[in-house]
Symmetry: none
Subunit: 204 residues, 4 copies
């Protein structure tokens, strides 16, 4: 390895989760711009130096905190499989994710703030948060299409983004809850109609 010595005190990586949790707490409490490393260190009972030794700075720390949030429920083999797309989709609504808590909302907004900073930050957020969600919806829709649930061809890539896009938009920009009624209105008003009709417009 590059940066490890055989001797000396070992870095206590058991503190990492503690610090990252403190980061998310402060992020939710005070927002991105008002978060200071000192606040995180104080809440984690750590020194600032310890944080700087592990992460490059504010953005890197927050990115790490975001990235380590458990998205295991979006892995392909843990997705709902009811045999019907509509019920699969409704089962995806995690009240604790986007719209459920003000906490999550503020964290999402903070993350968004960082995306404008560097391409690296944007890519990290995309990989950690955005892509898994889109991929999950793509999986469900593709599976339903493969089952022959819909008459014609469908633009699965576009449709897979409908729910993540609209949920984020609602939470971030409209600041309204991403709840069951909203989910139902998207599924029944946009997604399923589009699929039922097929991916082609009738307009020439």
């Amino acid at each position: 390895m590059i940066n490890s010595s055989a001797v000396g005190r070992k870095r206590d990586h058991s503190r990492d989760p503690e610090i990252l949790r403190a980061t998310l707490d402060v992020l939710a409490d005070t927002g991105y711009a008002d978060l200071t490393i000192e606040m995180v260190a104080a809440r984690a009972g750590a020194g600032r130096g310890t944080i700087y030794r592990r992460w490059a700075g504010k953005d890197d720390l927050i990115l790490a905190a975001i990235a380590c949030t458990d998205r295991a429920d979006l892995e392909a083999d843990r997705l709902p499989d009811t045999g019907e797309l509509r019920t699969d989709l409704l089962a995806m609504l995690d009240p604790d994710w986007l719209g459920g808590s003000e906490r999550r909302l503020r964290i999402l907004a903070s993350v968004t703030a960082m995306m404008g900073r560097t391409p690296e930050a944007a890519a990290a957020v995309r990989e950690a948060i955005v892509e898994p969600s889109v991929a999950a919806y793509r999986h469900l829709i593709q599976r339903a299409a493969d089952r022959g649930e819909f008459p014609g061809p469908a633009d699965v890539d576009a449709l897979a983004q409908v729910i993540p896009s609209m949920a984020a938009h609602r939470a971030l920009f409209l600041r309204q809850p991403v709840d069951l009624p909203f989910f139902t209105s998207i599924i029944d008003g946009v997604l399923l109609p589009a699929l039922t009709r097929g991916g082609q417009s009738t307009h020439p």
Copy 2:
């Protein structure tokens, strides 16, 4: 009036646009977090005091800069009216808006950053940027529906958010261009299919 004195030198409000334009320039050049009042003042040829006298701080200034951006093209009577929804929608693609320029993208990201700060900021952005766009699409879709362009009922409120949501999502989170192919794929792959089929799912 509330806050005007009959005497003394008048505040030169002809400088407002100059300063706000400088704000957007700096915002696009260096991003939200690295923007300083000094930069804006220097670019506008003003003193920092003059800016603080007019706006409460960084966020208020940026909000004002955003709010005064010209959205006249989204007013109802200036929207495209080709007699057919698809061509109307395609005519809405303003290459200078979301995806065309890196400038607009950075500004949008910066704005998003502020939405997590205060409810006031969020409401201001919503009213200045989000709502007008959604309202414009709602207008086009409702008009087409009134023309009887589609067979059944449609969830116009939900459908009106499809394009704004997905465009913002693509620009902000995917960092890909909001261009004609993308627009076409949404219109032909999501919006028009959903309308053609109607606003009701066939699922019981």
Copy 3:
């Protein structure tokens, strides 16, 4: 005259004393460094512009305020003339001048502050305050010498500075009152002994 027009409203020079008095008041209340033109203007019921139109700035204003203080009692023909130097000197003690009031003390300290700024300021203070006082004492001593009150020659220039120097030193640096006991101790302990002995040291 250089700067007078035949027409228009005439500058109201009757306001000058009012403003200069306000200057001294503020100077005594808050000191040199904390004095602002705004304070003076407010106390005089004037606008800042009016002050800047008449004096070049803070230092010039204060200098003018100092210079116009009435030192008429130091003119040669108004000095005490009792026929004897000691009683003349004691009659010079103006309890309202140097040591009497904290007000005068603070003003003196403020003046001193300005002397380090420019040679012009120093010269102005010297001419307005220092020189007249030294000249008065020189006049008294010279007159007594001319009367033959003392046996030998005297270094009148040096001796004339004894009282002003020691009074200023006591007030400024020791911050003790320049009162009758102090005056008496200088006159009887320094000045008259030196004169009585004569201006020449006996040391070879």
Copy 4:
């Protein structure tokens, strides 16, 4: 100790002299009113925060800079002792102190400026600068008197202030050099005559 923490990086007090020297340099170069903390910090190669961490502000910094100037030559056991007062006094003339350099003069004027600010500042200057000088002259004069160098009693307290007072007056208010001719004129024209004659006036 009062204000020391057991942990954390220690304040580097070896930088104090460097900063205080820079303070005196700037003070002499630009004067009291035009001195800025930034100038001092830049010249000392320090950050402004470091200065504010150690001293409360401009006045406190300058006071500290003054107070730490080396006055060791005024300690009793290092005073000249020629066996005769006149030569002792002449040996006191330090061309580098009051009048020799413009530098010292400007510093003295700056110090005087602060004496009007707070009683604390005045006391600090008095103790650091004024008192030691007066005490030194008192020592010399008292020793000569004890030797029986003069016929009668003398008001030593008053006489000890003659040279410091007149030197300060000459430098500050007359802005003339405190040099050997001046020193000689005071000693031979004021101080020694007064002592030779005695501390009592012949006037009834």
